[in-house]
Amino acid sequence: MIRFEDVTITYDGNLAPVIAHANLHINEGELALVVGPTGSGKTTLLHAINGLVPHFSGGTLSGRVVVDGRDTATHPPRELADVVGVVPQDPMSGFVTDYVEDELAYGMECLGLAPSVMRQRVEEIIDLLGLAEIRNRALMSLSGGQRQRVAIGAVMTTHPRILVLDEPTSALDPGAAEEVLAALQRLVHDLGVTVVLAEHRLERVVQYADRIIHVPGNGAPVQIGTAADIMRTASVAPPVVQLGRLAGWNPLPLSVRDARRNAEPLRERLRSAHNEHNQAGAAIDALAPRLLDVRSVSVAYGTKTALDNVTVTVDPGEILAIMGRNGAGKSTLLGTLVGLHKRSRGSVLVSGGDPADMRGPELISRVGLVPQDPSDLLSRDTVEAECHDSDRDARAPRGTTATILRSLAPDVATSQHPRDLSEGQRLALALAVILAARPPLVLLDEPTRGLDYLTKSRLVEALRTLAAAGHAVVLATHDVELVAEVATRVIVLADGEIVADGTTRDVIAASPLFAPQVWKVLAPQEWLTVAEVEQALGGVR
């Protein structure tokens, strides 16, 4: 169905190719998963399938890409639109119309299908992907998961035989991600569509993949193989695979279900082991003033309640994770802590002061927020200039930000444009900018979006160091594995209300949706991460 023959792709102005001598063959009806570190060329590979690379992106492609018998060299993307459907990373950026039903029909209109055919196909797709309730809604008003499903539906109406998706679940909460994956499963199994998707959150998708395409980056050869084969050695792996590698299971488990069948001996070995992390959480001086004190805060946008009577406190050394659905009020809560939103009720005290009344250096020396898109914070054209500005804003001695940045991400070249940095490097730069003012309270909104496992573990290190140095960290995230690794406490928001507040173990273990993979594999024993198990096994031997 899709054939890459000795494909080498080089972008203009770069000497080294992004992808070198790739030979791939994806069969009809397969679900192929593209994995690899951030910036390794996954998106480039995906876009080469329908000719966006090089027709749209520029650069040179040598070798041949043949899709359903058509060579992409002679067929621009629009001539492949009836064979390949591409869902972009941010579905909103690819929407052309403003209502769900019109968006579903757009591709067919371009292909010139008869109105009666269009009508019928729109109804079919609405049923297939469960869009009936939202068919008349404006696209702007949809939630993340709904947008993703509409984007999939919009390309599926032209009946493409290949569906290409770029990180379809990265921005979604666990529930919405499952919705999208169920829809994809249905397309693969019922309609025989060939699906190629790239994803960082492997724990969500690896069990559905027939084959995996591993793009290691830096021009290293692209590998393709069955999921179990590739996962044995891949540079990125979900926790369940890491656990399998650690325990030496063969065949390597890809899903929680597979792993549980193998897990009995491991549980036996761990029974006697002592879980040091179980007793984590130091005693806190109840009389000391709270670093963050939020009392019955409500925030409303127009008539919609975003936060409803939220009360939460944070002490130095804590890492608090805020979880909950897309739109549950996580970002609003973080914004309220830096005084971005007007409260209709309640009080917020950060180090004893109300952030809404603070501005300038007074604010940033007490609390710092890294927003969802870290590049929002950055405005200069080189990393060096950005660091210099940040020192000035924070009234810190020259070189402070640069020093912090080096400790977070040693490989950033200071002459680079912030937009050219990788996702992880940009996050490190934004975090360094925030930390330059030494705020005791550090807030991060969805920090692991688009990060691979290696970058994520660096972030975990950095956050632990901060907490150990007496900072308090609050992060809003959908990433249960990150929460399991790093958080000391979790609150869960639903429709702006706190529905759970407790230690990480108590909150996420109680929820089938939020429990991390290692927990699911080893329950009823209480292990959250591979690192915990590894440490315990080391102690047993």
Partner: protein
């Protein structure tokens, strides 16, 4: 209750045009007030829950500004024309060469009243345009245009959907400035937000272009070279004729017959070129908005209003009000405007509000 659907956008525009013709024909504040009230009521009853659906308020604000500016400029530069003097502004003695221009001086009651009523007329016309703008979806208007105009139309619609996103971006970047401990107000605040917003918009448009390309935008049916040349040549000649025709309309020495034939000829040629060009597209349209009784009702009440305005023009025009008195009530005009209220009940709700 009718099942919710989109009313054909042309029906809304025809209705709004009828109201606007009424507004343009009168300075009677009663009639103008009725026009604005009718437009506002129908908008609140039938506007969709989309971004452009909220634009009516902006047009009202714009109208208020128009009245204010017109009054202020009129007072400053207006010519004295007798009547009761309300108050005097210090006047500027201008040199000989600027004779005829006046600055400051007496402000009379008739002058002030005619300024206000004239401003109100403009504001009412703006309100009618605003009503059509928020009732008729721009993308559905695009669906009904000939497909040769489609590319231009898409650009307009994309711009319309981009605007609210850009406002959102600007908001986000402003709050990011606060997070860096910088001032969010003033020129510097604006400048430092504007550049990243534009960068973001450019990036977004590239993403959108890639998405549209991969969804088949711009696929062409096979067009022969000869046909393409014919289309281009027809358009060119048609535009040339239109230009000469427009010039002829201004020059009295050219006989009107020549002018008229040039203009009609150019319009006919443009129509022919559109038809040929449209055949080169393979695009089809999903669920074209039908034209049924609600559309007929909406259009005909609008047209009735326009007819009433034209036929009663003499009786509804307020020729130079001298003092502030209760204006006479032009019954026919008021009834015609009131008739325009009926679409608020006789048209279907837009689908996105029908579910509520």
């Amino acid at each position: 209750m009718r099942s919710p659907r989109w009313l054909n956008p042309f029906a809304w525009w025809a209705w709004a045009l009828g109201l606007a013709i009424m507004a343009s024909r009168t300075t009677n504040p009663l009639v103008l007030g009725c026009v604005v009230a009718v437009a506002a009521y129908v908008v609140s009853a039938r506007r969709p829950d989309a971004v452009w659906g909220r634009s009516f308020r902006l047009f009202l604000i714009l109208g208020a500004w128009v009245i204010a500016i017109r009054v202020v400029l009129g007072i400053a530069f207006g010519a004295p024309d007798g009547g009761h003097v309300l108050f005097s502004l210090p006047s500027l003695a201008l040199p000989q060469w600027a004779a005829g221009v006046r600055f400051g001086g007496d402000v009379t009651e008739p002058a002030l009243l005619s300024l206000i009523f004239d401003g109100m007329r403009l504001a009412a016309i703006l309100a009618c345009v605003g009503a059509a703008n928020s009732l008729a979806s721009p993308s559905r208007l695009l669906k009904a245009t000939p497909s040769a105009l489609y590319e231009t139309g898409v650009a307009a619609v994309v711009a319309l959907t981009f605007a609210p996103q850009i406002v959102g971006d600007a908001e986000r970047l402003r709050s990011a400035r606060r997070l860096r401990g910088r001032d969010t107000r003033g020129i510097r605040g604006f400048g430092s937000v504007a550049i990243p917003v534009l960068e973001g918009a450019l990036e977004k448009s590239l993403h959108l272009a890639a998405a549209m390309d991969s969804r088949g935008y711009g696929r062409m049916a096979h067009t022969s070279e000869a046909r393409r040349r014919t289309i281009a040549a027809t358009f060119l000649v048609a535009l040339l004729c239109a230009t000469i025709g427009a010039y002829a309309a201004l020059d009295e020495r050219i006989p009107p017959i020549a002018m008229l034939s040039l203009l009609t000829g150019s319009i006919a040629m443009i129509a022919v070129a559109f038809v040929i060009a449209s055949r080169a597209r393979i695009r089809t349209v999903y669920r074209r908005d039908p034209w049924r009784s609600p559309e007929w009702v909406t259009t005909s009440v609008g047209m009735a209003c326009a007819l009433a305005a034209i036929s009663t023009a003499a009786s509804i025009a307020m020729q130079g009000p001298t003092t502030l008195t209760w204006p006479q009530v032009p019954l026919i005009a008021i009834c015609a405007v009131a008739l325009c209220l009926t679409p608020a009940w006789l048209t279907p709700l837009p689908p996105d509000r029908g579910a509520q």
